[in-house]
């Protein structure tokens, strides 16, 4: 909770000044926190980077074309490294070296990708990169279930996105770019949120997978609403929304279930409303009936309902982020409405005052706004 001691000292000083704690209590808290063996995020991140760079170096070494070395030797060397790394993961687990185990899992995941590349190079396997990504996703799934580090989970999810996107662009809609983009941008948020909810439902040992998938659910909604805002609508193939609707309903039914509903009913309803607004936004873009105003209204509804959802889940920073997004989108609407006037000197001055004024007001009154929204909701 207290990222570094300086930040803690500042907080303790504020609390002491406000009369919430005494000087003795402040000293005791500070003394206790100084003794804690906290995770040094900087060192951890640098070592993770080092592991990745090392593995990329091994990939480059294997990928360099040593004609004089028989393929059998290259492959044997590669499998030796893989087996050795796998063995090291098991050894780290037996010795309860948590951090070492996570780094080795990450290294093994990257080396598996390198091995797929080597085998592809030696046997000239045809096919696209997304096929290799899909193969890698399947091979590393058990490792990701066991991993606890966010890096491994995020890397795996990037693999999923690459494999699925590649397949859709390669196989669907005959080379058309917009339709598969619509399909992907509307499906990914559903999949990631449903998967995150399912992992959350299965319990604490899958919390890293739940957190990772939910992060990507939010990230893909941001990407979807931002990218689709600049698309003109285009008719998709028949049954498109029927498929999406069924998927959304099925995943929601399984994902939300009794567990999540009983945890936080308000958040459950907010999530349903957010999903409805999001699909209304996608449908309007896809059906070709969109206009600047309708796009803006639905965009604002999606982002505002997200801010409400995160407020109900107690995630204040995400609440701030999405509310800021709402504010920025309002400004874009403002510029869209006044158009040519916006770029006159007076227009720019008024816009600048408006931006500064609203931002200052929000910063000053943020706590009251949050409390008011919490009461209302």
């Amino acid at each position: 909770m207290f990222g570094n001691l300086k930040s803690l000292e500042k907080k303790l000083e504020n609390w002491r000044s406000a009369g919430l704690i005494s000087s003795e209590q402040s000293s005791a808290i500070l003394s206790y926190e100084e003794k804690q063996p906290g995770k040094n995020l900087a060192v951890y991140s640098i070592i993770t980077l080092g592991v990745s760079v090392l593995c990329l170096g091994i990939i480059a070494l294997i990928a360099s074309n040593w004609e004089s070395i028989p393929n059998f030797i290259k492959l044997s060397f590669d499998f030796l490294i893989l087996a050795g790394t796998g063995g090291a993961v098991i050894y780290a687990e037996q010795n309860e070296s948590r951090n070492l185990k996570q780094w080795l899992i990450l290294a093994l995941m990257i080396l598996i990708l390198a091995s797929i590349g080597l085998i592809s190079q030696i046997y000239n396997t045809g096919g696209e990169f997304y096929m290799a990504a899909g193969f890698w996703v399947v091979l590393t799934l058990p490792l990701v279930i066991y991993a606890e580090a966010h890096t491994s989970v995020n890397l795996w999810i990037v693999g999923v996105i690459t494999a699925v996107s590649g397949y859709v662009y390669d196989h669907k809609f005959g080379g058309n770019f917009k339709e598969p983009t619509f399909l992907l941008l509307s499906c990914f948020p559903v999949y990631f949120y449903a998967a995150g909810s399912l992992f959350h439902f299965f319990g604490e040992k899958y919390s890293h997978l739940a957190a990772g998938h939910r992060f990507w659910a939010v990230a893909t909604v941001i990407a979807s609403t931002s990218v689709l805002s600049v698309f003109d609508g285009e008719k998709a193939s028949g049954g498109f929304f029927a498929v999406i609707g069924i998927l959304a309903a099925a995943f929601s039914a399984v994902g939300f279930g009794k567990f999540e509903y009983s945890e936080n009913k308000k958040a459950f309803y907010s999530a349903c409303i957010t999903a409805l607004f999001f699909y209304a936004f996608v449908w309007v873009k896809e059906s070709g009936i969109s206009s600047e105003i309708l796009d803006a209204v639905l965009f604002l509804c999606v982002w505002f309902s997200f801010s409400v959802l995160f407020l109900q889940k107690g995630q204040k920073r995400l609440f701030d982020f999405f509310l800021a997004g709402v504010g920025i989108r309002f400004l874009i609407v403002y510029f869209q409405i006044i158009k040519s006037l916006a770029f006159t000197a007076l227009g720019l001055i008024i816009s600048g005052i408006l931006i500064i004024g609203l931002s200052w007001l929000y910063l000053k009154k943020r706590e009251q706004i949050q409390q008011m929204m919490e009461k209302f909701l």
Partner: protein, 157 residues
């Protein structure tokens, strides 16, 4: 806490799976039926794409996929001592000495043999040979119709 056995499985499974995949490909090269095709269609300005030579395989019979760029049907290239032809996937293959499975992609029959890995140091030599002569590939084909490119060579015209 996940079980230790699951961790052992998670660490070992990818290694075993990759070994199987390698042995599978190696067996096609070792025991598959050999067939040689002419190749053409590489970009005369920039022959290599990364470390790969991308080309079009010249089948000894008209390609059914060229009729429609958007076609994604699956076909089988059927070769016998007397002739060769393309037949729909699922059709009777008893007359085929060698058959290669593939599908239509962007107006071409694609069987996963349309590229060959080129060592960096050989790139310049390859460029010269391509311009001088006719490229050919030797392909190994398994009994299930899967093909692996064994080697690339050139004959002077």
């Amino acid at each position: 806490m996940r079980s230790f056995r699951f961790l052992v499985f998670a660490a070992v499974f990818p290694v075993i799976a990759l070994m199987f995949f390698t042995v599978y490909k190696w067996n096609i090269v070792r025991a598959g039926k050999k067939i040689v095709f002419d190749i053409e269609g590489y970009d005369p300005v920039n022959i290599l794409t990364g470390h790969y030579l991308i080309y079009q395989v010249v089948y000894k019979t008209p390609d059914p996929c060229t009729a429609n760029y958007d076609l994604t049907s699956e076909y089988i290239y059927c070769s016998s001592p007397s002739d060769s032809s393309f037949i729909p996937a699922g059709a009777d293959r008893t007359g085929c000495t060698v058959f290669i499975k593939g599908e239509c992609k962007r107006g071409r029959f694609t069987a996963g043999i349309e590229r060959y890995n080129i060592p960096e140091e050989k790139a310049e030599e390859l460029d010269k040979k391509v311009r001088e002569g006719k490229g050919k590939i030797q392909v190994s084909v398994s009994g299930a119709g899967e093909a692996v490119v064994e080697k690339l060579f050139f004959e002077k015209e």
